[in-house]
């Protein structure tokens, strides 16, 4: 038997390597030297910036590497940039929080970096094994992170629930992969597609397999009805971790769904568009309606993140290149506005998350006018009000769905958008028009949070005012349909 040495392109996974190296470096530093503990967050941010640099180096000819296990293409790159932005912002909003809540350990930052590596493998996986490895790497890090504030009962509960249900979901995912491997004998996406097109005898099993895989990813995406863990876990986890979990992993799950559907399952004879639409409708509606009565902002943002996953699914169900590039653009905008909103929440809630209810925001305009303005911008953007990026992102998603002929779906989405505006604006009302009887002192944001918010505000406006060039980049990063 010949031993073939596969082609290996380390440059394709340079961002992953950088993050791994920095993650390990942070762990070691924390063990051997006390004096660096204040700088760990910044070292991690430095690592993310370096990785971002590598991730943005343009790829001229897309290819697979590591013996066809990994796709080095613009699609992967685009999602890597989204993940890295999310991670970078998370680290920046974590810095003060971690110190105040006594979780400023090396592991905390390393786990975030490792989870990011997992997401990157999910987006870049050209093989079911790679994708599954990515899912598990990401998930296991997140299970730990969710329970990182050990002193808080809710945090422990979150970790446990997330772990058990996550394992359950991985079961679905693996079962689906197993069925597909069983029929086609292949794990590489492209070869699966080839095998299906050559022989479509066992279509029913393939359809079940594909369906179970979507269920597995839908769990990570927190799509209804696989969402019930989300509010509990998001509420229990430390706020920066919630911010992290509600942006990057969702984008990663979407990337994996897109890649599997487009690269492996394009020959499968099933009207998946219909079922993604149903998923989208349920996700948007349940997310928005449940958010309406929440008086806890953390929980409200958790449900809001469910509804945003629903909007993204609307773009997926358009199943056109416009739709997919709109989804990618959406995730980019969402990352900024979502994490920034959580970052402000972390600050306003004070140490140990004393108060995450809407009361904490009452009269914020009087104590911290600039912070109040930033929060308003983010909430307006989340609600989809121009000229913020959130509006354009929604607009392009809805337009692509209209052009694909899904008028009914868009109608539901627009109604949902209107419902959503209610609970975002409720917070703005609290900020500007209600008095806080306790007359609190102004909260003080650290430099890292200020930087994160500044970047987010600029990004939300730039993406809202000149969306076209970013949309074009997303368009170039599409997978060939």
């Amino acid at each position: 038997m010949d031993i073939v040495i596969p082609s290996i392109s380390f440059s394709a996974i340079m961002p992953e390597l950088v993050l791994l190296a920095v993650g390990i470096l942070i762990l070691l530093l924390d063990v051997f030297s006390e004096k660096h503990s204040g700088k760990l967050a910044y070292i991690a941010v430095g690592g993310v910036a370096t990785a971002l640099f590598f991730a943005m180096t343009p790829i001229t000819d897309p290819s697979t590497t590591f013996a066809g296990l990994y796709s080095a293409d613009r699609f992967t790159q685009f999602f890597k940039v989204i993940f890295l932005i999310g991670t970078g912002l998370t680290l920046l909003i974590s810095e003060k929080y971690a110190k105040e809540n006594n979780i400023n350990h090396g592991e905390y930052y390393s786990l975030i970096l490792f989870a990011t590596v997992g997401m990157m493998f999910m987006a870049g996986g050209a093989d079911l094994i790679t994708i599954f490895m990515g899912v598990e790497l990401m998930s296991i890090c997140l299970y730990i992170l969710a329970g990182y504030t050990r002193a808080r009962m809710a945090s422990n509960e979150a970790s446990m629930k997330y772990f058990l249900l996550g394992a359950f979901a991985s079961g679905f995912l693996l079962y689906g992969m197993g069925l597909i491997y069983g029929i086609t004998g292949q794990t590489k996406l492209v070869k699966i597609a080839g095998a299906i097109s050559a022989n479509s005898d066992n279509m029913m099993v393939l359809v079940i397999g594909a369906g179970l895989m979507i269920v597995g990813f839908a769990f990570k995406l927190a799509a209804v009805p696989f969402h019930q863990w989300t509010p509990d876990v998001y509420q229990g986890a430390p706020i920066p971790v919630t911010a992290f979990m509600s942006s990057g992993p969702k984008a990663a799950a979407l990337a994996a769904i897109l890649r599997v559907l487009v690269e492996a399952m394009n020959f499968i004879q099933v009207d998946w568009i219909m079922w993604v639409s149903v998923l989208a409708i349920m996700t948007m509606t349940v997310g928005n309606i449940a958010a309406l009565v929440q008086s806890d902002i953390k929980r409200m943002l958790a449900f809001s993140s469910i509804s945003h996953a629903g909007y993204a699914l609307v773009g997926v169900s358009a199943a056109t290149s416009d739709g997919v590039s709109a989804v990618m653009f959406y995730m980019l905008v969402y990352t900024f506005m979502n994490i920034a909103a959580f970052g402000i929440l972390a600050l306003v809630a004070k140490a140990n998350e004393q108060n995450t209810s809407i009361d904490a925001f009452k009269g914020l305009f009087r104590t911290n006018p600039v912070l109040a303005a930033v929060m308003t911008i983010m909430l307006f953007s989340l609600a989809g009000i121009p000229p913020m990026g959130g509006f354009m992102a929604k607009f392009y998603i809805f337009m692509s769905a209209v052009n694909a002929g899904h008028l009914g779906l868009v109608l539901v989405a627009v109604i949902n958008s209107a419902i959503g505006a209610y609970y975002y604006i409720k917070v703005i009302v609290a900020i500007y028009f209600q008095e806080n009887p306790e007359k609190p002192e102004p909260v003080k944001a650290g430099p890292s949070l200020v930087f994160a918010l500044l970047v987010s505000v600029i990004a939300v406006f730039v993406l809202g005012l000149m969306p076209d060039c970013y949309l074009t980049i997303a368009g170039k990063a599409l997978l060939p349909f």
């Binding site: 079940i208 009805p225 696989f226 449940a290 958010a291």
Partner: protein, 643 residues
């Protein structure tokens, strides 16, 4: 080349943001730095860009600076791009140049104001919007600027928001402008439906393929656009907001309600000249409305007591002239008059501001008189500008007004010419009436105000002197008599020459030297008669005037009360609208139907939400069960979808 046009537009916005966000904590010097620095730099760059434009050969005088692709949604592609050609160049210089001078003036005029920074924030925001309007290379950008200047106008009219009159006047201006804006929007939509784009170049290049000359679509587009112009440029029937807008600080009246914003309608008509030339009906409407406004507003100006009201009606009247010129196809003459009018009217307003400042806020001319010796600089600059607006040779207004009248006459519209000439006479009369009542004769100043009477500081008089200088000599850009000497015509002309157009007759009419000289003689004659009558009535024999007033009291009362047009609108439109709003829309539609639905829907969702909340039991086994059932349903439905 020219790729810095966006900087010119953006600079005032930076000034507005800086003063708006941090102005409260800045010293006055800090506010001045940002507000004046940004507009001054913008003016400097505008001059450089303009020189660059002028140095080009006549056929290449179009600079397009596309910044980025702004919206690409289906068929709608809009660039954020800026266009500099002779037409926008003229406005660019007026907006930045006069704007900068008025900024300087305002540092003196507003020096006692408690929210100094807010004033400059709005003023800079206005400059930004106006530049967007003028420099945008498509109708959508123009519309953004159009709405922006409307907003700033509202904010600045109501600047002293604690005064009821100011707040009401701001509201009135805003609402009346909305009517016009609605027309503009409809016109824009119709352009998009017809051409599939809002880009100027594409629209104008395809106009002859897509539209028939005199056709319904061309007429509809241009009439709708003109509705927008009527609102913004205060023409009949939407002019009543402009006199009320005088509640704003005087520099605002000078900049927004005389020199720049109100000429936006003229700019839009000139810019769309290709379309207007294809719609003779619309052209006739424009000309007639312009002429009617010119004379109607002039007569109201006759008996106003408030110095700013006189100037306001004269502005409405002069804008009428500009539209009359557009209507007969004399776009160059219209743009020329916009320019000279910007000089002399800004000077007049700032002069009146100087007077009001000196008189501790008094605006009633009956309580002035004999101010000449107290404020010589203000007097002389005011006089020069008045000579200009009255159309006396060789001041600027003479050339531009004469050109409009001549072009109107040459296009065969003798009646319109007659109206214009009479209005010119009335203008000369009431403007000199204002000069005589304010600066000459015996002093009627109240003793208290007399104590503080002083000439304004240099920051205020210097802009006056510069503007008066421009009002004196600016007309020579358009010397009419000798062909080829008319610099402005050679410069602007190519913008309005679009091959094979059914062009307005005026631009191509043969130049009859004798006719023109004769008409000039007539208009100077009329102006001199007007001035002489004012002299007799207010200086020589004031007692006769008193008698005449008593004799024709009913007429005087009607005119002094502006023909009761405001009251008429109030009875015909405002009252019924308010009544309908209150009883039908508010009580019935809003409170019962809409609130009922909204609250019903709201209650429904909140109830639903509480149910969903219950579903969220917190128990792990329930969650796992839901997932299991969900997966089962999903996969079985998924299977069912397979063919």
């Amino acid at each position: 080349m020219g790729d810095f046009l966006w900087v010119i537009v953006l600079l005032p916005l930076i000034g507005a943001i800086a003063t708006g966000l941090f102005g409260q904590k800045m010293s006055k010097a800090g506010v001045n730095f940002w507000a004046l620095g940004s507009t001054g730099l913008s003016f400097l760059l505008a001059v450089i860009a303009f020189i660059e434009l002028v140095l080009r050969p006549a056929s290449e005088r179009v600079i397009v600076n596309t910044v980025y692709s702004w919206i690409a949604a289906g068929d709608l592609n809009v660039n954020a791009g800026f266009l500099l050609d002779p037409l926008s160049g003229i406005w660019l210089l007026i907006v930045t140049g006069v704007g900068f001078l008025i900024h300087i003036y305002s540092t003196g005029y507003m020096s006692h104001d408690h929210s100094y920074w807010r004033f400059f924030c709005y003023l800079n925001l206005f400059m930004f919007s106006m530049l967007m309007l003028v420099m945008g290379d498509n109708y959508l950008l123009m519309f953004i600027g159009w709405e922006g200047v409307g907003l700033c106008s509202y904010l600045l009219i109501g600047y002293d928001y604690h005064r009821d009159a100011a707040a009401t006047a701001g509201k009135k201006a805003f609402v009346m402008n909305r009517i016009g804006d609605f027309g503009f929007m409809l016109g824009m939509f119709l352009i998009f439906v017809t051409f599939g784009t809002l880009d100027y170049q594409t629209v104008f290049n395809n106009a002859h393929d897509k539209l028939a000359v005199g056709g319904a679509v061309a007429t509809a587009i241009t009439l709708l656009l003109f509705v927008g112009a009527v609102g913004k440029s205060a023409q009949i029937p939407l002019y009543t907001w402009l006199p009320d807008a005088m509640e704003g600080p005087t520099p605002v009246s000078a900049l927004i309600h005389a020199a720049t914003m109100v000429t936006a309608g003229v700019y839009m008509v000139c810019r769309s000249s290709v379309l207007f030339d294809m719609a003779p009906t619309s052209m006739a409407v424009v000309a007639v409305i312009g002429a009617a406004t010119a004379i109607f507003a002039a007569t109201i100006g006759l008996f106003q007591k408030d110095i700013k009201k006189v100037l306001a009606y004269s502005t409405v009247s002069q804008l009428g002239y500009m539209f009359m010129a557009c209507g007969v196809g004399a776009y160059v003459a219209a743009a020329f008059h916009v320019m000279t009018h910007a000089f002399f009217k800004a000077c007049l307003f700032l002069g009146s501001g100087s007077v009001i400042h000196a008189m501790s806020g008094e605006q009633n001319m009956e309580k002035m008189g004999g101010l000449k010796k107290h404020m010589p600089k203000t007097y002389w600059t005011f006089l020069i500008s008045t000579l200009a607006i009255a159309g006396i040779f060789p001041f600027a207004g003479f050339f531009s007004k004469d050109e409009i009248l001549y072009k109107t006459y040459a296009s065969g519209n003798i009646v319109l010419w007659g109206i214009g000439a009479v209005a010119a006479g009335i203008t000369a009369f009431y403007m000199f009436r204002a000069v005589f009542m304010t600066f000459h004769g015996t002093s009627r100043v109240e003793p208290e105000a007399m104590k503080h009477l002083h000439e304004s500081p240099n920051v205020m008089t210097t802009p006056l002197i510069i503007l008066a200088g421009l009002a004196a000599v600016g007309g020579f850009l358009g010397v009419p008599i000798i062909e080829g000497w008319n610099i402005l015509h050679n410069f602007l002309g190519p913008v309005f020459e679009h091959g094979g157009t059914a062009h307005g007759p005026a631009e191509h009419g043969e130049h009859h030297l004798t006719t023109e000289l004769m008409l000039m003689g007539v208009s100077i004659g009329i102006a001199v008669v007007g001035i002489a009558k004012a002299y007799i009535a207010y200086i020589k024999h004031p007692e006769i005037t008193e008698k005449l007033y008593k004799m024709f009291k009913p007429i005087h009362t009607v005119i002094y009360n502006k023909y009761y047009v405001d009251e008429l609108y109030d009875i015909l439109i405002v009252k019924p609208t308010v009544a309908t709003s209150r009883w039908v829309l508010h009580k019935l539609v809003d409170e019962i139907i809409i609130d009922g639905i909204v609250n019903g829907v709201g209650d429904f969702f909140v109830t639903l939400s509480s149910m969903v909340k219950k579903f969220q039991s917190g128990l792990l086994r329930d969650y796992a069960l839901t997932m299991m059932l969900g997966a089962l349903l999903f996969v079985s439905f998924y299977l069912w979808g397979g063919k």
